[in-house]
C-alpha cells in the first residue's frame, strides 16, 4: 500500500512545513533584536524615557516570538537525522561542524543573555543590560551566518572531497566550504529581508495606533523609524536580490529558468514574463504578459543575449516550475510594494504629513505582514528551485531520506500540523493582542508587569551566594 515515494513526499512536506513555520520567527527576531538594541542604545544615549517605553513595549512581543522560534528551531536540529538520515550520514562531516559552530557561537550566546535581557534590568544595571541586549542581537546574526552557510553549501557545494564510502568530506580549507559561491549573496539578502520584515511589522503597529490617535508620541516615533528603514533598506534589498539572482544564474541556471518561466531557450534575447500561468505538461506559459528581451537585459545586461531554457536541462534534473514561478513573483511584487511605501513615506515627510496621512497609515497596516509573506515566498523560490537535489548536482532528494515507513512519517506530519497551527496561532494571537495595546509612557517591563508580580524580585544583594540561611 505504501512505497518509498509516499514516505519521501511526506518527509518533504514535513520538512517544508516545519521549516517554513520556524523561519517566520527568526525572520522577526533577527530584526527585532537589533531594533531593541537600537532603542536601548538611544535611551542610554539621550536619556529619553520614550525610548525605554518603546524598548519595553517591543520586548514583551520579542519574548513571545523568541520562545516560538526556540521551540520550532529545536525541531529543525533533529529533523535532519530523523527524516533525512542518508543525507545526514553523507553530508554530516561537512555541514555538521558548521551547525555545531552555530550552536556554540550563536545559540548559547542568545540563550545565555536572553534571561538577563528579559528579566535582569534591575539586577545588573543599565550598561550590562545593554550589553546583554547586544549579545542577543549579535547572536541572532551569527546564527543566520552559520545556518545560511550550511544552506548555501547545499545549493552551491565547494571545498569538499568524496570519500570511499560515498560521504562528502571536508577538503583542506574550511573557508572554501563556509564561503561557498552563493553564501555572501544569500546571507546579505536574507538578513536584510529580516530587517525589512521587522520594519514593516513595527511600521504596521505604529500606523495602527496613529489611526487611533495621531498625537501618540510613541506611535509616531516607531512609525517614523520603521518608515526610514523602508525608504532606505527596500531599494538596497532590491539591489541585493538582483545580485543574488545573477549569482543563481551562474551556479543554478535551472532555478532561474523556473523563476522566469523559460521552458524554451531564447537564442536572441529572452522576454521577461511579468505574469502568466505556467503549464508544465505543455511546457509553455499561458496568457503570458511579457516584455520582449527584458529578461536577457536584466540577467545578461544585453537585450539580445541568448538565454537557455529548461529544454537544455534533462527532465530528471528540472525543478517544478509552478511553485517557483509564483513564489518568485510574490516575493518581487512585495519587494516593490515595500519600496513604494518607503517612497510614499518620504513624500509624506517632505509634505509634513507623515503622521496625518490616513491612507499612508492604512497602507502601512496592510503591508505590516508583508515581510513574512515575502520571506516565505523567497524561501520557496530558492528551496523548490534547487530540486531535485539536496546537495546540488550531487545528491538527489530522493536518495536522501531516512528508511522510514510512510505511516510513521504521515503520523508525525499530522502531529506537527495540528500542534503548530494551534500553538503558534495562539502565540501569534497573543502577539497581536500585545500589538493592539497602545504604547504609552511608563510602559511596564517583563519583570514588573502586572501579571508577573510574583516574578523575580529586584535586588541582587538579599541572599549572598544563593546559599540558604
Amino acid at each position: 500500500m505504501w512505497d518509498h515515494a509516499d514516505a519521501l513526499l511526506l518527509a518533504r512536506i514535513q520538512f517544508a512545513f516545519t521549516v517554513s513555520f520556524h523561519f517566520i520567527f527568526p525572520a522577526f527576531s533577527i530584526g527585532l533584536a537589533s531594533y531593541l538594541a537600537v532603542l536601548e542604545g538611544l535611551w542610554l544615549k539621550t536619556g529619553k524615557a520614550l525610548y525605554l517605553d518603546l524598548f519595553r513595549y517591543w520586548l514583551k512581543i520579542f519574548a513571545v516570538a523568541f520562545a516560538m522560534g526556540v521551540v520550532s528551531g529545536i525541531v529543525m536540529s533533529y529533523q535532519f537525522g530523523t527524516n533525512w538520515a542518508v543525507f545526514s550520514d553523507k553530508a554530516g562531516p561537512v555541514i555538521g561542524p558548521l551547525m555545531a559552530y552555530e550552536v556554540l557561537t550563536a545559540f548559547f550566546l542568545e540563550a545565555g543573555f536572553l534571561g538577563v535581557m528579559l528579566f535582569g534590568m534591575e539586577r545588573v544595571g543599565r550598561k550590562l543590560h545593554f550589553f546583554a541586549t547586544c549579545m542577543v542581537a549579535g547572536g541572532t546574526f551569527v546564527s543566520a551566518f552559520w545556518i545560511l552557510s550550511v544552506n548555501s553549501w547545499m545549493q552551491t557545494p565547494t571545498g569538499f572531497e568524496i570519500g570511499a564510502n560515498g560521504q562528502f568530506l571536508p577538503g583542506p580549507s574550511w573557508i572554501d566550504v563556509i564561503f561557498n559561491p552563493s553564501f555572501p549573496y544569500r546571507l546579505l539578502h536574507t538578513v536584510t529581508a529580516a530587517y525589512l520584515t521587522t520594519a514593516f511589522a513595527v511600521g504596521g503597529v505604529g500606523a495602527w495606533h496613529l489611526l487611533r490617535d495621531r498625537t501618540n508620541a510613541h506611535a509616531r516615533k516607531m512609525f517614523s523609524m520603521a518608515m526610514w528603514m523602508a525608504a532606505l533598506v527596500a531599494p538596497v534589498q532590491i539591489f541585493l536580490g538582483d545580485a543574488h539572482g545573477l549569482n543563481t544564474l551562474e551556479h543554478q541556471p535551472a532555478k532561474v529558468m523556473a523563476m522566469e518561466g523559460h521552458y524554451r531557450s531564447h537564442p536572441d534575447g529572452a522576454p521577461l514574463i511579468l505574469f502568466g500561468i505556467p503549464d508544465s505538461k505543455e511546457k509553455r506559459v499561458d496568457y503570458a504578459i511579457e516584455v520582449p528581451k527584458l529578461s536577457s537585459l536584466i540577467l545578461k545586461h544585453d537585450p539580445n543575449a541568448p538565454l537557455a531554457g529548461l529544454d537544455t536541462v534533462p527532465e530528471a534534473d528540472q525543478p517544478p516550475v509552478g511553485p517557483v514561478f509564483w513564489a518568485f513573483r510574490a516575493m518581487v511584487g512585495l519587494g516593490f510594494a515595500m519600496l513604494g511605501i518607503g517612497l510614499w513615506s518620504l513624500l509624506g515627510r517632505a509634505r509634513g504629513k507623515l503622521y496625518d496621512w490616513r491612507w499612508l497609515h492604512r497602507a502601512a497596516i496592510a503591508m505590516g505582514p508583508s515581510g513574512f509573506v515575502a520571506v516565505i515566498a523567497g524561501w520557496m523560490t530558492t528551496e523548490v528551485g534547487r530540486q531535485p537535489w539536496t546537495v546540488y548536482g550531487l545528491l538527489r532528494t530522493a536518495d536522501s531520506a531516512s528508511p522510514l515507513d510512510a505511516p510513521a512519517v504521515g503520523a508525525s506530519l499530522l502531529a506537527f500540523v495540528v500542534v503548530y497551527f494551534s500553538v503558534f496561532s495562539i502565540g501569534t494571537w497573543y502577539i497581536l493582542k500585545l500589538m493592539d495595546k497602545a504604547p504609552h509612557p511608563q510602559e511596564t517591563g517583563l519583570e514588573d508587569g502586572p501579571v508577573r508580580t510574583a516574578g523575580i524580585t529586584p535586588g541582587p544583594h538579599q541572599h549572598p551566594a544563593g546559599k540558604g540561611e
Binding site: S88, G120, L404
Partner: protein
Amino acid sequence: MDVNFDLTVIWAFIIAFGVFAYVVMDGFDLGIGILFPSFKVGEGRNRAMNSIAPVWDGNETWLVLGGGGLFAAFPLAYAIVLPATYPLIIAMLLGLVFRGVAFEFRWRDPAHRPFWDLAFSGGSFVAAMAQGMTLGAILQGIEVSNRAYAGSWWDWLTPYTLLTGLGVVAGYALLGATWLVWKLDGTPQAHAYKVAKRAAVATLVLLVAVSLYTPLLDEDYWTRWFEMPNVLFAAQVPLLTAILAFLLFRALAKRHEAAPFWFALGIFLLGMAGLGVSMWPYVVPGEVTIWDAAAPERSQIFMLVGVALTLPLILIYTGWAYWVFRGKVGHEGYH
C-alpha cells in the same frame, strides 16, 4: 590513524559532557514541569516557574548541542539512532514545544493559565519520558544494516524502554524538587522537601530495576558488569551511588537547602558512568563503535578549535546568568 584515535575519544567525551550538561540543567527544568501539578495554583506555581524562567532557554541549548554535536562528530550514529527512535524523538520535540511556549503564554493569558500549566507539565513529562525511552531503545540494541537503521518503527517500545523512561522521569523530578528546595522558601519549599523525598525513593527503585534488567538483555552487558576483572571497577558505581543516596536522604531530613541538589546531581553523574561501563566504545551497542561513526579528522579538528575557544566562554557567561538570578525566588511582599 593514531591522531584520529585520540580525537575520536576526545569527541566522545565532549558529546558525553554535552549530554550530561543537558540532562542536569534541562533535567531540573523538566522535573519542575513534571512536579508542577502538585504545586498550589498561584504563588507556588508562579515561583516554581520563575525559578527557571531566566535560564530554561540556555539549558535547552545543550540539547541542541547534543543533537548538533552528534550530527557533526558522529554523523553515522546520528543517522542510525534518530530514525530508529523516530516516534520518540518526535514526541520529545512536540513535548518541548508545549512546555517551551508555556513559559511565555501562561503570563500572557491569565484566563487560560490552567491550560498552559497543563501544557507545561504534560510537555515536560512527555519530553522526559521520551528521552528515557530513547536511552533504553539504544541500550536494548538497534538493528543496523548497510549504514542504516533496519528495524521496524515499533522496536523502541518494550517493557525495558518503559522502565528507563520512567526512571528518567523520576530522576528529573528529583532534580527539579531539589532545585526548588534550594530556590524557594516558606510553604512551597516545605512541599518541595516532601516531593524530593518521594522522587528520590522512586529514582533509586527504578535505577536498581534498570541496573538489574540491563545485564539480562545481552550477555555482553553481563560480562561488562559482573565478570572479573571488570567487576572490580564496575562495582564502584553502585557502591558510590548507595553512599550518595544515603547522603541525599540525610540532607533532606536535616533540611539542608543546597546539598540535596548536588547529591542528586552526583547520582546522575554515576548513572552516566554506569552508562559508560555498559556502552563504551559503542554508540550503537554491538553494531557501531565511536570510531565507525566518527567524522573525518578535518571535521573533528575544526570543531575542536571551536569548542576550545567557545566552551570556556559559554560556561563563564552561563555561570554569570545563573549568578545574576541567584538567591531565593521572590514573591509578593518579599521585601
